[in-house]
């Protein structure tokens, strides 16, 4: 369980995360949606201790993220941010193997190698596993980074816009993989998503943010409604139900 209490963060005068409190129960896929600048990424960074919050506390399974040793937390919670620039020249397999660092501290065991190969297979990266990151397309690189985080094999996985750069086929495959990982291994996956329809079809819960606050929270049936979407994004959307999933049409 992740508990955020009164988290707050501002850049200069602008308050980006405004007194946010939220409890995320263990297990399942949770999507974080909201307009640009609503504070989604900042909230994710605060939860994952990448960004120190001047006020509020974040507890992951009872551990305060600001005081718990980094390596202990790294075996519980992993995070991938949206822009991943890397100067180091690494092959895909090397990058993914770094995901095992919290467990083996750089001395990979047979078990670690098994993890790496399994993740490479899951993400269909076999063909490019030996290639350098700077030789890959944006989508392949994105998948390699997600693979690294999955390889870390933590109970909580935080991903900031994981579908960036992915084509439709890979985006769907990725969401199915998250769904499967959450269902089969009891992981808690928190995603920042821009495509509300992906959020609607694959999440157990949706958290909608606006102006640094949590505006709405609930299962997709409650969140994917014209009223909520108008509130959160300021656009008019028609909601259709297709195969039991709610789909928002906002292209008009």
């Amino acid at each position: 369980m992740i508990e955020v209490r009164n988290a707050r963060k501002s850049y200069g005068e602008t308050v980006v995360v405004d007194d946010v409190s939220i409890t995320v129960p263990a297990g399942g896929v949770i999507s974080l949606i909201g307009a640009n600048g609503a504070g989604k990424s900042t909230l994710l960074s605060i939860i994952s201790r990448l960004l120190p919050a001047p006020a509020g506390t974040v507890m992951v399974e009872g551990m305060d993220v600001t005081t718990t040793p980094g390596d202990v937390l790294a075996r519980r919670l992993s995070i991938l941010r949206q822009d991943n620039q890397m100067t180091a020249r690494l092959t895909v397999r090397d990058l993914i193997a770094f995901g095992r660092y919290p467990h083996s501290k750089g001395r990979p065991t047979v078990e670690d190698r098994g993890h790496v190969e399994r993740v490479i297979r899951y993400l269909e990266l076999e063909a490019v596993a030996h290639r350098f990151l700077d030789e890959l397309s944006g989508g392949q690189r994105q998948r390699a980074f997600i693979a690294m985080v999955l390889c870390q094999d933590t109970r909580y996985i935080l991903l900031d816009e994981p579908l960036n750069n992915l084509d439709v086929k890979h985006a769907v495959a990725m969401m199915k993989l998250f769904r499967r990982t959450a269902d089969a291994f009891g992981k808690t996956i928190i995603l920042v998503l821009h495509d509300i329809n992906f959020a609607s079809c694959y999440s157990d819960r949706i958290v909608a943010m606006r102006d640094g606050r949590i505006a709405f929270e609930g299962p997709p049936e409650e969140i994917i409604t014209p009223a909520v979407i108008r509130e959160v994004y300021g656009v008019e959307a028609a909601i259709q139900e297709i195969d039991g999933k709610r789909v928002a049409l906002y292209f008009r």
Partner: protein, 327 residues
């Protein structure tokens, strides 16, 4: 990090072969340097040139390692520690010493004492700078570097001002100290520096795997459970010791680290520090000794190697910049 032959050796030589080859070449250049064109008493020549070779090996090693470490923590391959104002601080210390005490007194100083002062001042300065910058509400490495550059300009101006107001003869004495040269290395300092460098190297070697993670960038390193701030501070302390030792031994060599670090990256095509660091160190030693052989034996020139190095280093720097821009 993982010992994956396929990934490591795809475009480059197998690591063992590469290190053995570079080591062999370095050894050969050392022998050449010691024996080439030697006339007269061997005991004198070997002692005289031996000191020089030892200094070059030590300095090459220190510069290579400090540059690779600095580039790892800044995640940038065109930065060197000199951007933090290290070598200008050295200039300032030299100038202030001569200004206050006069060149005669400075030369009469016990070199070990002067060395201690120089290293101490440079380490203290960098430590204070990092401490001050990191202790406030988290600001980044980029601000740190910016402040380093500003300090560099400040030190440069101060040193320039002092150099203008001192006696012209004293000015010459200062100027002479500010060009890197292996001819004025003091044998007594070598042992002290070697011990310092050895101690630091042990720390670096034990940290190698953490360094691999630090090279991924701050966010990834924190995600993987590395205490980023603490590790960066420690690495910066190591870098300041290494830079201080090499600068205090022979004077500032600005571009050299950039040159050898990038050559090493080209040669090994991997990110593992346990491979990159030895290769960079060997390349540095090899280039230094070969450069000095060319300078002394072929060009018959017994002056400052730094002129050649800065010339070549400057060209390499421009090439790297242009290639980056083209990408």
């Amino acid at each position: 990090m993982p010992a994956d032959c396929e990934a490591v050796g795809r475009r480059s030589l197998p690591p063992a072969l590469l290190i053995a080859g570079l080591g062999g070449l370095t050894l050969l250049s050392v022998v050449l340097f010691l024996t080439l064109g030697a006339k007269g008493s061997w005991s004198f020549i070997l002692a005289f040139r031996g000191t020089k070779v030892a200094a070059m090996l030590l300095v090459g090693y220190a510069i290579a390692v400090s540059t690779v470490l600095f580039q790892t923590i800044t995640n940038n391959r065109i930065l060197t520690p000199s951007i933090m104002g290290f070598d200008v601080l050295y200039r300032l210390i030299q100038t202030v010493l001569v200004f206050q005490l006069g060149s005669a007194a400075v030369t009469a100083f016990d070199p070990r004492l002067r060395f201690g002062i120089e290293v101490g001042a440079m380490v203290a300065f960098s430590w204070l700078l990092y401490r001050w910058l990191f202790s406030g509400s988290m600001r980044g490495l980029h601000l740190l570097m910016l402040v380093g550059i500003v300090f560099g300009v400040l030190f440069r101006s101060l040193a320039g001002f002092l150099q203008r107001v001192i006696d012209p003869n004293e000015f010459l004495a200062v100027q002479d100290r500010l060009f890197a040269s292996f001819n004025r290395v003091d044998g007594r300092l070598l042992l002290v520096s070697a011990l310092v460098v050895l101690a630091v190297s042990v720390a670096v070697w034990r940290k190698a795997r953490v360094l691999d993670v630090l090279a991924l960038g701050r966010d990834a390193a924190i995600n993987l459970g590395v205490d980023h701030r603490r590790e960066v501070m420690q690495v910066l302390a190591i870098v300041s010791v290494l830079v201080a030792v090499s600068t205090a031994l022979v004077g500032p060599v600005t571009f050299f680290g950039l040159l050898v670090a990038n050559l090493a990256y080209l040669l090994v095509d991997t990110n593992r520090h346990r491979l990159v660091l030895p290769v960079a160190a060997l390349v540095a030693m090899l280039v230094l000794i070969c450069g000095q052989i060319v300078l002394e034996r072929l060009l018959g020139f017994n002056g400052a190697l730094s002129i050649v190095i800065e010339f070549l280093g400057g060209i390499v720097f421009l090439v790297i910049l242009v290639r980056r821009a083209a990408r």
